[in-house]
């Protein structure tokens, strides 16, 4: 039945629009609440720990793995043109501009975004969020703000770590295995880069941090219906924020590079 199909399509569109609207409202409330008293320093420190410090091992490991694999592929690829020297330049370009921020973003979406969704989701279905409301505490202020701030600070820092580790991952492979000179690698790595590129990487990381925290918290906050709802919240938060990270990465790259 065409009308039926149209009906369903319309419903889906309306539903997505409502959700997008809800997300926008909640996000703007979160940003507005960031400047409101009382500032909850212990909670913020706790989030710095949970989002930032505890993620360092994961970020280091993935960055090592990705940068080494990438170096393998590059040295193989450029050998076809007898241009092995270019490998380190492209390595630098790829790590700083794309790999470090995007890998950090995706890993963190899985590691902390999902945790935020699960935590807030549990709080929602066990009425703890209602209890916050009753104790005259805005859940957006109490729960969203520390997570948002922590992600906004920590994602760029972790991206910095990822770039640093990526440099040494490439070094280990190109210098250690392929046998480039270490001085050449170290200078070539930066050859195609300008300071602006580091700025771009950190800007991307900041945007990814905002996406991860807001989507994770929002999905958790809007959890409905018991254990199943709590189970769905992290999954959909990871999917949604990963998608938005990739989409925004494209536009940020386009915008910031012109």
């Amino acid at each position: 039945m065409p009308t039926n199909l149209l009906d369903r399509l319309g419903q889906r569109v309306l539903q997505s629009l409502t959700q997008a609207g809800d997300f926008a409202v909640i996000s703007s409330r979160a940003f507005a609440a960031a400047f409101k008293r009382p500032f909850d320093t212990p909670n913020l420190m706790h989030q710095f720990q949970a989002v930032g410090v505890n993620s360092i091992p994961v970020i280091v490991l993935t960055s090592v793995a990705i940068s080494m694999v990438f170096a393998v592929q590059l040295s193989f690829g450029f050998r076809q043109f007898q241009a092995e020297g270019l490998a380190s330049q492209v390595q630098g370009l790829a790590i700083v501009r794309e790999l470090a921020p995007v890998i950090t973003g995706l890993m963190m979406a899985g590691r902390v975004g999902s945790a935020m969704a699960a935590e807030l989701g549990t709080m929602q279905v066990t009425e703890q969020i209602d209890a916050l409301e009753c104790l005259a505490t805005d859940p957006i202020h109490f729960l969203f703000v520390p997570r948002l701030l922590a992600s906004m600070v920590m994602l760029p820092l972790l991206t910095g770590i990822s770039i640093y580790v990526g440099f040494w991952g490439g070094y280990a492979l190109l210098v250690g295995v392929v046998g480039q000179s270490s001085v050449v690698y170290s200078t070539e790595f930066y050859k195609l880069l300008a300071f602006r590129d580091v700025g771009i990487a950190l800007t991307k990381a900041l945007v990814f941090g905002i996406i991860i925290a807001l989507v994770g918290c929002w999905r958790g906050y809007r959890t409905q219906g018991g254990a199943e709802g709590v189970g769905n919240a992290p999954t959909s938060s990871v999917v949604t924020s990963s998608l938005w990270i990739l989409v925004s990465d494209f536009f940020l790259t386009k915008l910031l590079l012109v």
Binding site: P38, M123, T126, E127, Q128, D130, A131, L132, E133, C134, L135, A136, T137, D138
Partner: protein
């Protein structure tokens, strides 16, 4: 005199299921109202609507003259600071210790020092008989202990209005009496206005100035305990007797057997 809590023509339905239909009542300052009703009759929904956690389909609630449904969030929080609410499932913050749970509002809304907060937390915990539990996490408490911590959290800020959702369900008879006494104490000492949902007839008659019965979405009686007891309405009489037989249930009650004859012959020695 203007009532402290004024519920006007409140209606609420979830999908096709009508939970509240034109509920109207008022609670005066210093008065204690007990709300009773069958399980699933909408008592919790009523309390959540009063608190502004649920939006009614029609009608409104006003607290001290302010219509809850028309306030913006900031004003709503100002009103909620004057209200203490005790949840049916306690709803304790499970990432915090018992002491942090109880001191939560004190820390956020009062200029009290850490020591003063600790003192007040001790005081509240002693009231509900949980003196040595400050350090425990909610996961380490029994159901009844959680409920008492929830109760202590609700009264910590010394609010002028208290809403209790079954504060005594699941407690032993002695503890139930203790909680009833604390509620009475608060009323006499601080003149607080309370709405208490309870299934416990004894404590309802003890604490209430008026008892309301919620039945099929309506308040069918709201009167002082003696009048409530004498109310000839068959629903009320059945509720007071605690009998399955009568107009209270929609479906006929399961057949009644006398306890002695129902014993299985196999068990008879």
């Amino acid at each position: 005199m203007e009532p402290v809590i004024d519920v006007v023509n409140l209606s609420k339905a979830f999908g096709p299921k009508v939970v509240l239909a034109n509920v109207t009542f008022a609670v005066q300052e210093g008065e204690s109202l007990a709300v009773m009703g069958g399980s699933g009759s909408g008592k919790t929904v009523l309390l959540r609507t009063i608190m502004g956690l649920l939006a009614p389909d029609s009608g409104h609630v006003s607290i001290e003259g302010k219509i809850i449904q028309e306030l913006d969030r900031q004003e709503l929080f100002e009103v909620r600071k004057k209200i203490g609410m005790c949840f049916q499932m306690a709803a304790l913050f499970d990432s915090m210790s018992v002491a942090e749970n109880i001191g939560f509002a004190l820390k956020r809304h009062t200029p009290m020092t850490e020591a003063e907060i600790a003192g007040r937390v001790d005081e509240c915990l002693t009231l509900v008989g949980l003196k040595d539990c400050q350090k425990l996490r909610p996961a380490e408490l029994s159901g009844g202990m959680k409920r008492r911590v929830g109760f202590a959290r609700a009264i910590a800020l010394k609010p002028q209005i208290l809403l209790f959702d079954e504060p005594t369900t699941g407690l032993d008879p002695v503890m139930t009496d203790v909680i009833s006494r604390v509620i009475l104490d608060l009323k006499h000492q601080l003149g607080v206005t309370t709405v208490t949902i309870t299934h416990d007839l004894k404590s309802a008659f003890e604490i209430a100035d008026r008892i309301a019965l919620l039945f099929r979405g309506e308040i069918i009686a709201c009167q002082p305990p003696e009048e409530f007891k004498a109310n000839p309405d068959p629903v009320i009489q059945q509720f007071l007797r605690g009998d399955a037989e009568g107009p209270f249930l929609t479906d006929p009650a399961p057949p009644k057997r006398s306890t002695k004859s129902s014993a299985s012959p196999l068990l008879v020695p």
